[in-house]
């Protein structure tokens, strides 16, 4: 069970959270102007990263807030947690 740091509540066990998939996918402001291909890209295509991945979590059984995290998919280690709307923190290798 992962240990997740909610930016609003602090360190909590994974069971308090729901997973929200890939982060930083903004819904297009005017979907009608997208062609089918571009819309399908937005709708269905996701990266399947081996390594550091920006993803969304929601503290569903806590404060209810969505936030983002950087997780290394090869180790499940989190590198950072940050609020929705913020840019992912710069990573120093």
């Amino acid at each position: 069970m992962l240990l997740i740091v909610c930016p609003y509540c602090g360190e909590r066990p994974e069971i308090e959270f729901t997973y929200g998939g890939q982060a930083h996918l903004a819904r297009p402001h005017q979907p009608a102007q997208l062609d089918d291909q571009a819309w399908a890209e937005f709708l269905y295509m996701r990266t399947n990263t081996k390594g550091v991945y920006a993803e969304r979590w929601r503290h569903a059984r806590g404060c209810g807030r969505f936030f983002n995290a950087l997780r290394d998919t090869t180790t499940d280690h989190f590198l950072a947690f940050y609020k929705t709307g913020e840019a992912p923190p710069e990573r120093t290798a």
């Binding site: 069970m1 729901t18 005017q30 997208l34 819309w39 499940d76 929705t84």
Partner: protein, 1000 residues
Amino acid sequence: MSRAAGGLRTPSGGRVDRTQRVQFEFDGQPYEGVAGDTLASALLANGVHLTGRSFKYHRPRGILAAGSEEPNALVTVSRDAARVTPNLRATQVELYDGLIAESQNRWPSLKRDFGRINDLLSAFFPSGFYYKTFMWPRKAWKSLYEPVIRRAAGLGRAPTHADPDRYAQRYAHCDVLVVGAGPAGIAAALAAAGSGARVILCDETAEFGGSLLAETSALIDGQTALAWVQQGIASLAKNNRVTLLARTTAFGYFPHNFIGLNQRLSDHLSRPPEGRPRERLWQVRARSVVLATGAIERPLVFPGNDRPGILLAGAAHTYLNRYGVRVGTRAVIVTSGDDAYQAALDLKNAGVEIAAVADLRSEVAGALPDAARLAGIDILPGSTVLGTEGDLRVNAVTVGRVHGGKVQAEQRILCDAVLMSGGYTPSVHLFSQSRGKLKWNDALKAFVPGVSAERERSAGACRGVYDLADVLADGAAAGAAAAGAAAGGGARRFMVDAFKRSSESYLGALPQAQAPSNDKSFVDWQHDVTSRDLDLATREGFQSIEHVKRYTTTGMATDQGKTSNLNAMAIVAKSLDVSIPQVGLTTFRMPYTPVTFGSMAGISRGDLFDPVRTTPTHPWAQARAAVFENVGLWKRARYFPRGGEDMHAAVARECRAVRSACGIFDASTLGKIEVVGPDAAEFMNRLYVNNWSNLSLGRSRYGILLREDGFIYDDGVVARTGPDRFHVTTTTGGAPRVLALMEDYAQTEWPELKVWLTSTTEQWAVIAVQGPQSRRVLETLVEGIDISSAWPHMSVARGRICGVPMLLFRVSFTGELGFEINVPADFGLGVWEAVYTEGQAHGITEYGTETMHVLRAEKGYIIVGQDTDGTVTPDDAGLTWAIGKHKADFVGKRSLERPSMKSAHRKQLVGLRTKDPRTVLEEGAQVAAKSGQKPPMELIGHVTSSYASSVLGHSIALGVIESGRARLGQTLYVPMPDGDLEVEVTSPVFYDPAGARINA
């Protein structure tokens, strides 16, 4: 069989109490052991080696090991019909007075087993046998092959009664979790505790000490190994920051240092105290972990290496020194390293005749072999084993001498025990589970921990450190480092007085003569995999160890190949002529040893399995003997039978009552979300397909919510209860996911909108009063709202009922004039009873969800999740009218423009009427355009809802059919086992299509 069965117990020494005799039963025979015995040690003390039949060939098998790695001696221990635990390793079963154990996988008895014929027919059971043989006919799998194979190759049987015991679970946090309480683990725990850390030390056995419990000669810092253990444990026990957990297996290593421990609390007791939990599951979050899990002795692979009486040398050493049991009277030792000489010396001292030590090394030197020579033990260097003899117990072994790679001479030696030692395999299971990377160590001929993935360190034998002084120092260093003690603070040294030994390991099958014995050389004892099976698999083209493993099933038994994996890899590597690291390693999975379902379930069983949600009128419905159904976690009254009615009769009566007079229905389970804020209308516009801007205060509308992919996600009536406020209802099951979706958009896509979302599902009781008489019933009760016909369908208003504040809807899910009374949940039952009393004069009838379903289907109202399945668009469901015409965007709108979503061939919701009005179609039945088809049929849709309609006098059904609306009037066919049923495509609205009744 043995010369003096009673004489196998040594007169003194070990960790058993000879004054406390313990009676037990094995396969119906009474035996006696002593306190401190395991079932295995007690059986061995009675001269019993034969404890099981092998999985596939039913060969007689004996005890191989002394710990959890035991592959053979699986037993069923039972206290009563409900307390039957199969597949326990006899080496881990602690003996108690009255213990009853049975061997497994034999019929009719262990000594005369019919399945033994498999061994004689084994030429017909090569690897992949099941895949090759039982392929055809397919049908025979279920009825014939599988049951027979399962019976023949079975492990123990599950108990037939429910488990009456209690299983506890708890969470724990610590600075340092130390797994394994051998020398490394104890040293680590002492070092960590010494620096003030909170420590948990666990060990799978009953007593701390690990290998030191069988150590009789070594001195640690001037005291005996046992005294050192006892002093260390006593000091840990006194420390209130240390938790000591014996009989506790760390079975799983999960991300972020989350470790599962299974503690067995009462299985070792003759009379477990009432009410005390039998096991406890610990879920430990450790800041740091020290793995001190030791190493497992590696068996040797030679013909006939599985006869009872053939054990690991270290196991024989443990039985002697820890349990005071001689495993035989005349032993041959086969070894690749020095450690077995310690066993030879100790056994000889205890009176066991050592016929010979067959050493695989051509040069045998060193302190321990020298000591053995000095003691008069015959050492045969450059040896190999060519075969063994004996039916139910080994009675001879043939040893060959290898010279220049060839077997030159052979010698047959009589014995009643063969003790083998192929070196050690570090127990890297938990390290590997933690996703640490293993690395191959050529000197040790083993995989050892490489790069860690978690805050974890391995210490001692589990990372290939075998010398006792080094093990202790390694453990102390790991414990100190894990506790975060200052680095370089002078590592603790231990003065150890013991033989220096070389632990040379052997890999793969022993060399054989040119015409080798026909007998099998086992690699995996528990799954009966031989070296020949592995060779065959590589000859048949399997190259990846993952494939060889699955094809031969090596390492896939309940012991997960603890004793077999490395030998299997070595044999495959040799056969493929590649190095072992090239062959690769299979994945270690949890659990390390099997964990009971009880431990996993804890208290989550029976009534506590899931929470139960009940509505405010639940006790009223119970008192009326309502039949309930589960809808998610909710209990909903399905129907209210009267006077012995079955469901069909009750539902028919309830339906007629609603259509002719009035019905009352508890709709409290509907999801309710309060959407509030200056931007509430804008938020609703962006989310739902409907136009909300023109919904005026006091009005409501049927809303549809899509996913971004354009498919219906949920529906429900949405009321505008204020300029900045919407009361959104959702389906019963959809409430949480709709709120989650709303929150997602509100928080992440449109954070600029000022809108707040609150679930009010449980705050409101909802009482639906439906039917032509419903207005008459409510007229006298409702205060502050004019509910005359001037108050049209889909109106909403605040008022009072029975003095209670109320939100009243004029809505209908039945097609009749209807109202839904929303009152605070605490008043739900009182208001319900008042309405019910008032309604008596108007023929009010309580109805349940089944009637609700029939009534809505008669009107063609869909149920999301029943008539839709995540691939249905609003147009498919005939709901295009609900979509706001001039909206530029809403969630899912763009997807509805995709060509496939506008295809005329999509499946559309229609009504289906059977030719025979009494036939009620099966929900889920497929629909075909042509009759009389044979599989594979061309199918164009399926039935989603189907009921008998007593009001209409015929059955009704809804279905989704390709181009359904263009097929009105067509005859279609529902293929069933007894032939096709003819149906006519109709409008989905069967009752009152003009809607006169609803607007009454």
